[in-house]
């Protein structure tokens, strides 16, 4: 029973971070039909913003909130500077542009800040464990689950109840028809990027709170995981990102618990093998509606 609870906590904490990140990718994919490879760098930008603000004496939680907003604004700036001038180009052009942005940001982080890892002081409340009976659960993991589930619930409310959320989903379903209805293209695309930045910022807070450091390539690993989650779940629907995120979380936690210690190194290979299976047998993902890339 204890092992099962610990397993469940691992699935939820890993899965919720992946789901947040995959959602960030999917909201942009829904509008522009490409995967923004620079999404992971928004996490790194959050990390450095948090680092500098805490160094300047801003309290951690306040700095975290500002840094999440900063990541959102960076995503909007990214769209305005790099992607908007390419509006109407093929998704492949936008994808390559996102690689270029990511590469440029890496170099800027390395040259302007440091190629080395910089520690970020994590508040006491997020370190250590709590015990429930015989079960030890990391505080950072509990924090991750609470924040991620809360964020996902808020996002769901926003997407289904607000005018902007409905505009965003309508525009993702059929961009041209949404425009005919009076939904403004520039507004929804900027909103999609802002949301993706906010989601990357929240995911980065959770990621960093379990690791306590920031470095130029911080966003690369979670970005790749998000990519896998988004492809497994399906790129056409935010629900797909959720399913993909939790599926990947469950897969990793399961492999970690069933693989003998000597074989744990093959965990990522096993995940990639399953991704390949999805690409062959269910290329549109768990939520298999046909995506309609456009513009």
């Amino acid at each position: 029973m204890e092992e099962f609870i610990q397993y469940l906590v691992s699935v939820l904490s890993l899965g919720s971070i992946y789901a947040l990140l995959a959602l960030g990718l999917v909201v942009v994919f829904g509008q522009l039909g490409f995967l923004n490879f620079a999404h992971g760098d928004l996490m790194t930008l959050f990390g450095y913003a948090l680092l500098f603000m805490t160094l300047w004496g801003v309290p951690f939680w306040l700095a975290a909130i500002f840094s999440i907003g900063f990541a959102g604004l960076c995503a909007v700036a990214m769209e305005r500077i790099a992607f908007r001038p390419l509006r109407g180009q093929s998704p492949m052009t936008l994808l390559i542009t996102s690689f270029a942005i990511s590469g440029a940001l890496h170099v800027i982080f390395q040259v302007a800040i440091s190629p080395r890892s910089k520690p970020i002081p994590i508040p006491e409340i997020l370190s250590g464990y709590i015990t429930i009976g015989d079960v030890f659960i990391g505080r950072a993991q509990i924090f991750t689950i609470i924040v991620a589930v809360g964020s996902l619930a808020l996002l769901n409310y926003f997407l289904t109840k607000s005018r902007l959320g409905i505009s965003l989903r309508a525009s993702a379903a059929d961009f041209d028809v949404a425009r005919v209805m009076g939904i403004r293209a520039n507004q929804v695309i900027a909103l999609a990027f802002f949301l993706s930045g906010i989601l990357a910022g929240i995911a980065a807070l959770l990621w960093i709170s379990q690791r306590g450091a920031v470095f130029p390539a911080l966003g690369l690993t979670p970005m790749i995981k998000a990519l896998i989650a988004a492809i497994i779940g399906g790129l056409s629907n935010p629900k797909g990102a959720l399913y993909g995120g939790f599926f990947l979380g469950a897969l990793e936690a399961t492999l970690l618990s069933i693989l003998p210690d000597d074989y744990v190194v093959f965990r990522d290979a096993a995940v990639l093998l399953i991704l390949v299976c999805f690409l062959i047998f269910r290329p549109n993902g768990i939520i298999a509606t046909n995506p309609e890339p456009m513009r």
Partner: protein
């Protein structure tokens, strides 16, 4: 109400519409008929600003639409139900209607949703279902209802009967007739020549990007050439 002069639209080097001129007066139901590939839908896409004009002019109530963005055309009283229905399939029926009325105030949107649902009771029954799971006929009603959310003065319907069972086609044409009776100006593009000529005041016949015939719908319905080309094989 609508005046189109010498409209040319090209896709790359291919000219899809080659100098089309027509007009629609207030309260009229005008239909553009023609075979697949005649350029009918491209003409409508040009009216909505979804494809750029190579040349020509489109005026609504005397004002040029050249500088009006796609998003602002709805504000001029234009409603559009596109070919293939193109409902927002991952959104519920209610959310589709909200998207259709996105430019309205909150209270106006609520009122309009009730009015539209009264006209299309099936949509009230299905309001919480995803639009993607509706039948073809229900999706078409939703596409028309969505376009009606802004209470348009000028409604553009692109192939509303396409892919529907004959019984449902009759229902859709009944709805179009009712809308006409209610005073909505309608531009209808259809391949179902018989039914569209029966409901329309005037008609234009398009072939290979050109208007080759025009006149009162009743006259065209009796035109032997039209009967040979379209009415013999189409019901």
């Amino acid at each position: 109400m609508l005046n189109v002069q010498d409209l040319h639209v090209s896709y790359g080097l291919v000219a899809a519409v080659k100098g089309v001129s027509f007009d629609v007066s207030k309260g009229e139901l005008v239909t553009i008929i023609g075979a697949n590939g005649a350029g009918k839908s491209t003409t409508l896409n040009a009216l909505m600003g979804l494809v750029p004009l190579a040349s020509g002019a489109i005026k609504l109530n005397g004002d040029s639409l050249a500088e009006v963005s796609v998003e602002n055309r709805v504000g001029l009283g234009m409603g559009y139900a596109p070919e293939g229905r193109r409902v927002f399939s991952s959104l519920s029926v209610l959310e589709n209607l909200k998207a259709g009325g996105i430019t309205l105030s909150k209270s106006a949107m609520e009122t309009r949703i009730q009015e539209v649902m009264e006209r299309f009771p099936i949509l009230r029954e299905r309001r919480h279902q995803d639009a993607g799971v509706l039948s073809g006929g229900e999706q078409q009603m939703l596409a028309i209802a969505r376009a009606l959310m802004v209470n348009p003065d000028f409604l553009i319907l692109d192939e509303p009967s396409l892919g529907l069972a004959p019984k449902i086609v009759s229902v859709v044409f009944e709805i179009i007739g009712e809308l006409k009776q209610a005073g909505v100006t309608i531009l209808l593009v259809e391949q179902n020549v018989k039914k569209s000529l029966a409901v329309a005041d005037r008609a234009y016949v398009m072939e290979l990007g050109l208007i080759v015939k025009s006149g009162p719908a009743a006259e065209l319905a009796d035109d032997p050439e039209i009967q040979d080309s379209y009415l013999g094989s189409m019901e």
